[in-house]
Each structure stands twice: as structure tokens, then as C-alpha cells.
């Protein structure tokens, strides 16, 4: 584990400390590989990373077509939870998986703190 990923782990730990957050991952936007993660429970971190990367990429095509440029924030709302993805620096994506009652506003604040420190 590198110093960078250790730093990420600490920052991600703050996100997973928010009530309703099941896990947070920093991943490579291109290939969806995991750079750092803080996942609770039995979720497969590689699956979260790959799906978040793919999701973000697909949504980016749509927002660009709409003239909005790449998204700063993507939220997939499902029946039993949410998946959030937003771009970090150097081609990374931050992904968060959470429960239904997740405080989206709080997650945004914490994720933005990570982005500032990246």
C-alpha cells in the first residue's frame, strides 16, 4: 500500500463514518481499478469500482450530449440504496454506496473535502 493510498484510506474513512454510507472507493476512471477503498459489510469492492466507472462514463456521454459537459456529481437512486460517483483529480472517480436514508448533502461536503486534498 502506497503513502497516497494510505492518505486516501484515511479520508475515505471519514466518508464511511457518515450514517448510511456503506462504502467509499477511489478508482481509476479509465479502467475502474481500485486505488483506495473503505467498504463496510460484504460488498465486493471491485464490483462497486467497475460499475461506478462504467456508470459515470455512460452518464458523461449523455451530459456532454446535452451540452452540460462532464458531470461533477452523479447519483443513482435505487429501491434499496444509492450509488454516487464524482470525478476526482488525475483521472480518478470517487464512488460512494449508501443506504436509502443517506444524507446526500453531508456526503457531498465530505467528498468535496477529499477532492480539495487530492
Amino acid at each position: 500500500m502506497t503513502a497516497v493510498s494510505i492518505n486516501f484510506d484515511r479520508l475515505l474513512g471519514r466518508v464511511t463514518g457518515i450514517r448510511g454510507v456503506v462504502g467509499a472507493v477511489v478508482l481509476d476512471a479509465e479502467d475502474g481499478l481500485v486505488i483506495a477503498e473503505s467498504i463496510l459489510g460484504g460488498i465486493r469492492v471491485n464490483a462497486v469500482a467497475a460499475l461506478a466507472a462504467s456508470m459515470y462514463r455512460r452518464v458523461s456521454h449523455t451530459t456532454k450530449a446535452a451540452g452540460h459537459g462532464p458531470p461533477d456529481f452523479v447519483q443513482l437512486q435505487a429501491e434499496n440504496g444509492v450509488l454516487i460517483a464524482l470525478p476526482g483529480s488525475c483521472g480518478t472517480i470517487l464512488a460512494v454506496i449508501g443506504e436509502l436514508d443517506l444524507n446526500i448533502g453531508l456526503v457531498k461536503i465530505e467528498l468535496n473535502k477529499i477532492l480539495v486534498r487530492q
Binding site: R58, T62, A65, V74
Partner: protein, 255 residues
């Protein structure tokens, strides 16, 4: 009642300018003799054009007889003379309601309520029309529009109704084409992460936000908010729009 009608009819025959025509007209209406009531009241009103109560009652009889235009004319003249006549206000409220002019109907009923706040009939009518007006406004704000910020696309990447315009450019077809991939990916991600079915996706960027949902299995709805529009606001509009879109899809299907 019939005796009273006979007495009043005799009195009116002997004295055509008697004001008993009002009571006679009301009683004839009560027993269902609308033709007789109309005849008596028409004669009385012609002789006493300033008798507001009689004219208001005459309007009701005209309405009973299906003569809506005449009733409208009568009540309109009544409120010009006596703006606080509750009967005429109620009547005009009803006629405007029947004509689909809910704003005008509400205006007359509001006036009637200000005069007779405990009138249950007016209160009920007012409440019903107000609700209808609100749901109309909701539907209008949620309905897919010709172009601009809302579009319904099919499951093969084609716009169905509405449209998206950014900086004067129609981006509907491009967005619709990419929506299929988004929808498929959302379904796959939600399933694999055991999140259940996906409900919607919202995106934010410097130039605005998008809200994507699936009103039906074979359609995708997109709402677009420009810079400064809050995503939560778009999300609220999207909920109503999805219901409208579902109805639209159901209505559009050929059985």
C-alpha cells in the same frame, strides 16, 4: 302548496304589477313546473327589472331549463346591480365551471364565500374547483413540452415527445441515443450491488443538471435544469412529469 299557488296566481292575475310573482315563481319551480315558473318570472322581471332577488331566481329557473346563455346573461346583470348577490355569484361560478373556466368560477365563488362564509354548497364547490385548478396547474407544469427542458425517449434511443434545447440547439436526438446505455447500466449496477430496481439518476455540472427516470419499462424521461436550477427542484418536477409520461405512454399504446 297548490292552494298557495292558486292564491298567488289569482293575485297576480288581478294585479299584474304585484311582487307576489317572486313567491309564485319559486313555488312553481319547487313543484317542477319549470315552464310556468319561467313564464311568471319572465313577466315579473320585465315589469320589475330592478328586483334583484327575482332576477337571481329567474336565472336559476333558466339554468334548470338548460338555457345556460340566458341564465348567464341574467346573473351577469344581477351582479352588475348587486355585486353581493350570493345566488348570482353561485350561478355564475357554476356556469364558468361548466365552461371549463376554473379561474373565473373560483373568482365568483370567492366573492360568494366572502358574503356567505358558512354556505356549505359554496364551500364545497369552492374547495372542489380549487383542487381541480391545482391539479391542472401541476399537470401543466409537469407535462412534456414541445421543446426545451423535458423529453421522453423510447427504449431504442429515439425521442418520443418533448425535447431538449441547449444554447438554442436541439440536443434531443443525441441525448436520447445515449439514454439507452445509461438505462442499461443503471439497471445492471443496481442489480449487481443488490440495490433493487433503479428509480432515477441525477447529474450535476457547471452548466446545469439532468434528471433521468423510467416512467415505464420501455421509456426514459429526462428533465434538464439550466445553471442555477437546483437539482432538488428538478427532482420534484420529475416526479409529476413521470406520472404524466406514464399516462401518455399508456394512452399512446395501440391495444
Amino acid at each position: 302548496m297548490n292552494d298557495r299557488i292558486r292564491i298567488l296566481a289569482d293575485e297576480l292575475a288581478n294585479n299584474p304589477v304585484s311582487l307576489c310573482f317572486v313567491e309564485l315563481g319559486a313555488l312553481l319551480r319547487k313543484i317542477g313546473d319549470l315552464t310556468g315558473a319561467e313564464r311568471v318570472l319572465a313577466g315579473g322581471v320585465a315589469r320589475h327589472p330592478g328586483h334583484v332577488e327575482a332576477r337571481s331566481l329567474y336565472g336559476e329557473v333558466l339554468l334548470d331549463r338548460g338555457k345556460l346563455r340566458d341564465a348567464f346573461r341574467e346573473w351577469s346583470e344581477v351582479v352588475e346591480t348587486e355585486p353581493r348577490d350570493v345566488g348570482a355569484r353561485k350561478g355564475l361560478g357554476y356556469l364558468f365551471y361548466k365552461g371549463g373556466q376554473l379561474d373565473e368560477a373560483l373568482e365568483h365563488l370567492e366573492m360568494a364565500l366572502s358574503i356567505a362564509p358558512m354556505d356549505q354548497q359554496v364551500r364545497q364547490a369552492y374547495s372542489r374547483i380549487r383542487k381541480e385548478l391545482e391539479s391542472e396547474e401541476t399537470a401543466a407544469s409537469a407535462a412534456p413540452r414541445g421543446a426545451g427542458d423535458m423529453m421522453l425517449a423510447d427504449s431504442r434511443g429515439r425521442p418520443l415527445t418533448g425535447g431538449l434545447v441547449t444554447d438554442g440547439r436541439d440536443v434531443s436526438e443525441e441525448v436520447a441515443a445515449y439514454l439507452v446505455g445509461v438505462s442499461d447500466e443503471a439497471a445492471r449496477s443496481a442489480r449487481m450491488l443488490k440495490l433493487g430496481n433503479w428509480i432515477w439518476i441525477t447529474t450535476e455540472s457547471g452548466n446545469g443538471c439532468l434528471h433521468i427516470s423510467k416512467p415505464t419499462d420501455d421509456s426514459t424521461l429526462v428533465l434538464m435544469g439550466g445553471p442555477g436550477v437546483r437539482p432538488a427542484e428538478v427532482e420534484m418536477r420529475a416526479e409529476s412529469a413521470a406520472k404524466t409520461a406514464k399516462d401518455w405512454m399508456d394512452d399512446s399504446r395501440v391495444d
